[in-house]
């Protein structure tokens, strides 16, 4: 990120930040565990999508399409909330995951 920093005359007043700044912040760099999604097992209930704190679970036509590793920080919440009988997401240590 090499954006010009705004001066006090141009900056929106009152510590107001336009929405969408999380796009510039690639939380994927924090990840030590990677979620692996199993399309076969997945019933597309989308609970993981609702719970992911970084909106990293991409959905298309009502189905989990992929996990966006630029933003997935590896918190493991998706694996936790996936229904126990399904267990479609497993967390794998980053250095053991496929590159």
């Amino acid at each position: 990120m090499n954006k010009k920093k705004l001066g006090y005359k141009e900056l929106p007043a009152g510590d107001l930040l336009e929405a969408g700044t999380a796009l510039d912040f690639e939380t994927g760099s924090w990840r030590s565990d990677r979620p692996i999604h199993d399309e076969e097992k997945c019933i597309n209930c989308l609970i993981c999508w609702a719970y992911c704190p970084d909106s990293a679970i991409k959905v298309e036509d009502g189905k989990v399409k992929e996990i966006d590793l630029r933003y997935c920080k590896g918190c493991g919440i998706c694996a936790q909330v996936c229904p126990p009988k399904i267990k479609a997401i497993t967390m794998v240590e980053e250095n053991k995951a496929e590159k």
């Binding site: 001066g7 006090y8 900056l11 007043a13 009152g14 510590d15 107001l16 930040l17 929405a19 700044t21």
Partner: protein, 394 residues
């Protein structure tokens, strides 16, 4: 416009102003001597005289927090407090100003503990003087009422967008009934207009984050914006004070001068004591003594340029502080007024009187004594004591 003359205490006057403003949200917690403002207002809510969403909270910290939340969401929000309540809000006062929310807060001046005391002095609002809030002081019920109405316009002005507190002296104004004129409800409504913020959190079409982490790279710019907004505020206060005068017959500026222009000795004071001092000035003028008075109304923004000009011609000026900085030097008003005059080529001798702490009486004789001392200083050119404590027992 027919005159509606009524008898109201300062608290009633502020509550009536709030009824006429009809804010969308009021979140408040009771504290003597401001309780009555909220109590009367809650009656207006219960009776359906206002459409306000009244939020009862568990402390003043929460009162200011809820008011901030409501204001950020995009509505007109108010609260009321005094003394310890204001102290408890302190953290949130900075946040309201930093987020540039135009909250208007009636504040009833009362001493701060310890020792515990419920009576008037200005230590509470003086403790909030660097929070980024506008501060307007009132001499009586009429001014309290007029100031609350004007402050809505001032705070919400596009070039201002900072919160403001309007104060009265605890018990002396808040509980003392006086003659005053009320403006008709619809005229107040027209005067203050509708509140339409440019950005607000509940605007789902233009979402934004408010109050994000602001570190080394942007915090300074945001504080600079606040400082700049306070600089712009003076001009707006004068514009609105004039408009209010044109519409309703009572003009307001940064201060009121009373026999000041040809005075040789003068007192500068804020709040109800100005009324007492005016009587003394009248008495002294009858004796041919060139005594005058400057009653400061607007303490934040501090009108340093104008004050220096108005005071330059005096031989002696006594700044009367109803608060002490406990800094081994002088009261807060004295420090700032004296600093404002520093760049004058010819400046008056300036003395400080700290008075009325915890509601200690300040009467005609005591104020006359201040003028007598100023006469001595004018004659001898010597100041026996720069900072004086008026009315304290040795």
């Amino acid at each position: 416009m027919s005159k509606n003359i009524v008898a109201k205490t300062g608290n009633e006057a502020m509550a009536e102003a709030m009824r006429q403003i009809n804010p969308d949200v009021v979140a408040a917690y009771p504290i003597t001597p401001a309780t009555e403002v909220v109590q009367l207002f809650s009656q207006f809510v219960a009776d359906g005289n206002v459409k306000t969403d009244f939020v009862t909270v568990e402390s003043e910290h929460s009162a200011m927090s809820a008011t901030i939340g409501a204001s950020a969401a995009g509505v007109r929000a108010m609260t009321v407090t005094s003394s310890q309540g204001l102290a408890l809000m302190n953290e949130m006062l900075y946040i309201a100003a930093g987020l540039r929310l135009p909250i208007v807060m009636p504040e009833v001046n009362r001493a701060l503990s310890s020792p515990i005391n419920i009576h008037c002095d200005h230590s509470d609002t003086m403790g909030a003087r660097d929070t980024g809030w506008i501060q307007i002081y009132s001499e009586n019920s009429q001014e309290a009422y007029d100031n609350v109405l004007q402050t809505v316009r001032i705070c919400e002005h596009a070039q201002v967008k900072i919160p403001g507190m309007v104060t009265t002296d605890g018990f002396i104004i808040s509980h003392c009934m006086e003659r005053m004129e009320m403006i008709a409800d619809n005229e107040v409504k027209n005067f203050i207009g509708e509140y339409r913020p440019e950005r607000y959190l509940l605007d789902i079409k233009k979402p934004y984050t408010l109050g994000s982490l602001d570190l080394q790279d942007y915090f300074f710019e945001h504080r600079m914006q606040l400082a700049q907004a306070m600089c712009n505020t003076g001009k707006i206060i004068l514009e609105i004070g004039k408009e209010f005068g044109d519409k309703f017959g009572r003009k307001y500026g940064f201060y009121e001068k009373y026999h000041l222009d040809d005075a040789e000795i003068a007192i500068l004071v804020m709040g109800s004591t100005a009324g007492t001092a005016k009587v003394v000035v009248d008495q002294l003028r009858e004796k041919g003594i060139k005594a005058g008075l400057l009653k400061l109304r607007v303490f934040r923004p501090f009108p340093y340029r104008e004050l220096a000009q108005e005071l330059a011609h005096l031989k002696v000026l006594a700044v009367m502080d109803r608060a002490d900085s406990i800094d081994s030097f002088g009261g807060p008003l004295f420090d700032e007024v004296r600093s404002a005059m520093y760049d004058l080529k010819d400046k008056p001798q300036t003395v400080n009187y700290i008075f009325g702490l915890g509601g200690r009486e300040i009467n005609l004789e005591m104020i006359e004594g201040v003028y007598t001392q100023m006469q001595d200083i004018a004659k001898t050119g010597e100041i026996p004591q720069r900072v004086n404590y008026l009315g304290v027992r040795e």
